[in-house]
Symmetry: D2
Subunit: 340 residues, 4 copies
């Protein structure tokens, strides 16, 4: 249950309301939002009569949610929410293409990739400076130096940049250099990291854990949002399956499923899901047709020399061709490419 | 390995070739095709040098295939194959919409559904007369009476009809009344049924088993094709997954995966995959964008009264709206609705 | 809901009861059993008050079941059922080891395997005469000749024999030569085959489909039982999973799960589940400790020459060692090896 | 490839060797161990001839490993490794039972649980002070206060205690109060946490991610070990599956699979895997028979009042009965209960 306070409520009224609710429901969780102060009663309180609460002083409205998440629930914002990143909007009519190399490897590599994705019409540049790798002996990213390279390409290309934080300590550093902080699939239930992302002041791209349910994913978003950050964009990136032809099983139906459960924008990562460049093109188009709000695509100027996941990256020319196909599908669906 | 004989080869040459191959590779499997006689050397023979065979008398060409299937392999027909059903073509530029109720329940129900799907522009009418049901006590279909109803609606609507056979004995009966014989997901490895479908003289719609690999699926197609029937259309209908919001996990990436491995057309069943009418629309559009050759959609004039899977059926009006959306996406992809 | 008739009820009373139930619940399904006539009201009737039915003339007792299956439900036989096969009993204190080659290949091969498994103390000999194979070009079994070889080894070894039927037409033939008819994993939802097995007069070993739920599996058993055959033994043989080290994921917890839902005995096939001989030993012991009523183990005198699944077979000496280990675990669990 | 240095090698020789290897293979990773200094050449170097390296000065032996992990590979310690925790040994003939409540809730609750598990013969007491919870509004554990309660019960009961760290900052605190640090399933790929655990000076219990492959799991262990901590015990706790009767699918075959790949001890958590107390008993016995080195079992003096996962906890009396059954199975397998 979410209790939204009236914007005219003052600090005394807020405190009084919290005390009343705490007395009735036990611990309550308070979140400040741009549109007022939200008070989230934890799930245990959901057997309450909303009417009982709606009449309390300072209450603007009461929203009940079906699951264990509240701030992420569709019921809170039935029209859907929009998330702005460096002049680009997720969740509106525009479809956001994030593209770039899996890992930032060098100034030159990043510059060539940035030029390619900007030239083809992508809205945001992505690149990993901190790479969570299965093996401790694999390339782990350039760290702060990589973030600085991203910052420079941001200035050159004019594109907003997105990069991943893999532990709580990295969040502030990443947030300082980039426009959107990514939480990776392995860290979807790294709660300390999620909370830090909830306090970083930047929009967050939250990848689905590769065996997460819709509920677990939305609860992960709730961790971020309950720290006061409403700007979460979800990203489906494939779930573990038995097939051997692709790295993961892209679960496209989760896009409309999650959009019914939540107001948050949803994008799709066809590159990590399939691991096969030839499949990235049809799956990008399918994601657009399924109603996703964007895609995140691996593009590398020289995939065979990539230090991480090169096998799945599109070449610049193939990416450019994809953007043309994508634009036609979007128009057919009443949408358009979001431009930076 | 597939050895394709020259069309000018006579019976003596054919026999001589078979004997030579048998002496070299052990048992060989011979299939007659419209374009000549194909001799399939079983997989054990794939360590042979194709050049060794290509020089034998009566041999037109030798094709090697990477998997345990040969006739279904892309290598045999790199340009893809087309399957015609009552004036409609799968695998060409047209996108085939099969629609209708999950089960034939009555003359009136079928007539109303047929009118709705024909009016909305579907290419083929589907309806089950023999229903494989999880429980022995559930409605098992109207049998021959259902087939006759389909035959009558075929005459009235002008649409070709598709219906399922669930055991070898039913195949000939189904083939007599309908234009395309469906093999269901539970029967994908019912080899006696597949062989019978290979001898029935009708195109076959082969659903993927709900935990089948691409290789197992194509081997099932091979069972049909190795009996002399080249007209197989594959149908992805969702695989078993851990999600609770949908009945199955629609594996859309299997469409381009299978199209790379095989020349056979591939369609998608978003109704059985999701079990949720609201998800059928985005998943149909996504299937089109992913490169599928068609979809099969549950449409029922009165879903709440359906005897089988009513919960997933689209209402006629929703189906009509879907067809409009679909047409726009197809045009954007350089395709068009296949018209009956 | 199951309505069990009094044994003293005569034909007129039976008919009258069926008519009364049909008028109240729609179609009812009648099964004759050794202990009287069971009338199964289909699931739609389960909203009935049992008390309402219990008072009808000729009714001995009324049992309600939680799922869509009735005859297989634990509620019908809370103490569990026992299934006898050639002097061996499943479901009692004894633990039944079925062993032998995956496929019958020759008189000599079968004789050597039978001697090995009999010598090591197995209770039943298994061997496939009809083999459902993924590829149409793979060895499909010796057919009737294989059944005759099994019959001869039955006489020589004194062991009861078990073999698979893969299509309805084969059931009678298999039942004629062997003591127990196996239904394979691919055919768990081949309903025509299940019904034929329900009329064959032999106990049936029903393998779980490799992506079947407990409910689907028990509904498959219900298909057999609703034709009048109460002698069904369930067999867990691994489900499809993402792991690459084993062929399937052995789901041992399904043993106690199914035993709580159903009164039927349950055995485990560690050979097909893992596909790795070294894993067959620990998984056999684990199955015994988990409460299974037996195991079915691939044993081959010369695995490297096997025509089917040789890679997973135990050598006779390894099987003998396993039997010793198994016996100790069984004793620790208060059970013992069932002896032929 | 692992290069083990001679114990007589001095610092100069070590440096020279590292330089030689770095020149030949690029970056090398050095780990100090009790038995000398191990130099791990990263996987990229595995195309090297071991013989080429074996002859270098200061090299005691060279071990090649088949996967991307080296220190965790069986090849390094073919006889298996043993991990000691407060007088108890994992990986030897003894079978270690860790038991206790999922979460530490109060002094009284912990005391009653500790008394119950100690009285029944468990070797180690477990209890969570930091709880990673799906919902941010659920009980998150008592934190340091919980650790202190564990410390007091350690003194009272004499049992070593085990508790989870969920973020890098917590590791040192947890390590200070307990004998073994647990890494939970959600954090199996939280690499910063794993590295911190590798530097904490305590043995680590590493749960398998609920969709992790064997290779990913062993790579996670490698993260810990490559920081110098050789004392890792693996814990299988169920993988995500489609079944609805249990929370997860217990993958018991992974026990012998991982034991072939790695020298590390492996234990099983039947409580989280199944979520059903009645299934904990058979699955504990099955784990023992499958060759596991221990189990970790939820025991709670008053499950209905538990703040976390109470539904899966065993009552003290049921746990005691289980210990009796377990001991008999262990003896049958040539093992015994490890006593504190």
């Amino acid at each position: 249950m979410i209790v939204e306070m009236s914007q005219t409520a003052d600090a005394d009224e807020a405190r009084a309301l919290q005390e009343t609710l705490a007395a009735r429901f036990g611990a309550v969780h308070t979140v400040w939002s741009a549109t007022g102060r939200l008070v989230v009663c934890h799930s245990a309180g959901d057997d309450a009569e909303p009417g009982e609460v709606a009449g309390l002083a300072g209450v603007r409205r009461v929203v009940t949610s079906p699951g264990p998440y509240h701030l992420a629930a569709r019921a809170l914002r039935p029209a859907g929410s929009r998330v702005r990143v460096h002049g680009v909007e997720f969740g509106g009519p525009g479809f956001v293409v994030l593209a770039g190399p899996c890992a930032v490897e060098s100034t030159d590599q990043l510059a060539r990739s940035a030029e390619a994705v900007a030239g083809a019409g992508a809205a945001l540049l992505r690149g990993g400076a901190y790479k969570p790798r299965t093996s401790p002996y694999a390339f782990q990213g350039l760290g702060v130096e990589g973030l600085r390279m991203l910052g420079r390409q941001r200035a050159v290309s004019g594109l907003g940049v997105v990069s991943e934080a893999t532990q709580p300590e990295e969040v502030a550093k990443v947030a300082e250099h980039v426009d959107m902080v990514q939480i990776g699939t392995r860290n979807m239930q790294n709660y300390a990291l999620l909370k830090e992302a909830g306090r970083c002041g930047r929009p967050v791209l939250l990848k689905r854990g590769f065996a997460a349910t819709a509920e677990e994913w939305l609860c992960a978003a709730e961790y971020i949002m309950s720290e006061g950050n409403p700007d979460v964009v979800l990203c489906e990136r494939g779930i573990r399956g038995y097939g051997r032809e692709t790295r993961f099983t892209l679960d496209l139906a989760i896009v409309p499923v999650v959009k019914r459960l939540s107001h948050l924008p949803v994008v799709v990562d066809p590159s990590h899901a399939t691991g096969v460049p030839e499949l990235v093109v049809p799956m990008t188009l399918a994601a657009a047709a399924a109603g996703a709000d964007g895609v995140i695509v691996d593009v590398h100027a020289d995939p065979s020399a990539a230090l991480c996941d090169g096998g799945q990256a599109l070449l610049p020319d193939d990416f450019k061709a994809l953007m043309g196909d994508l634009e036609r599908v979007l128009v057919a669906c009443g949408r358009e490419l979001e431009r930076p």
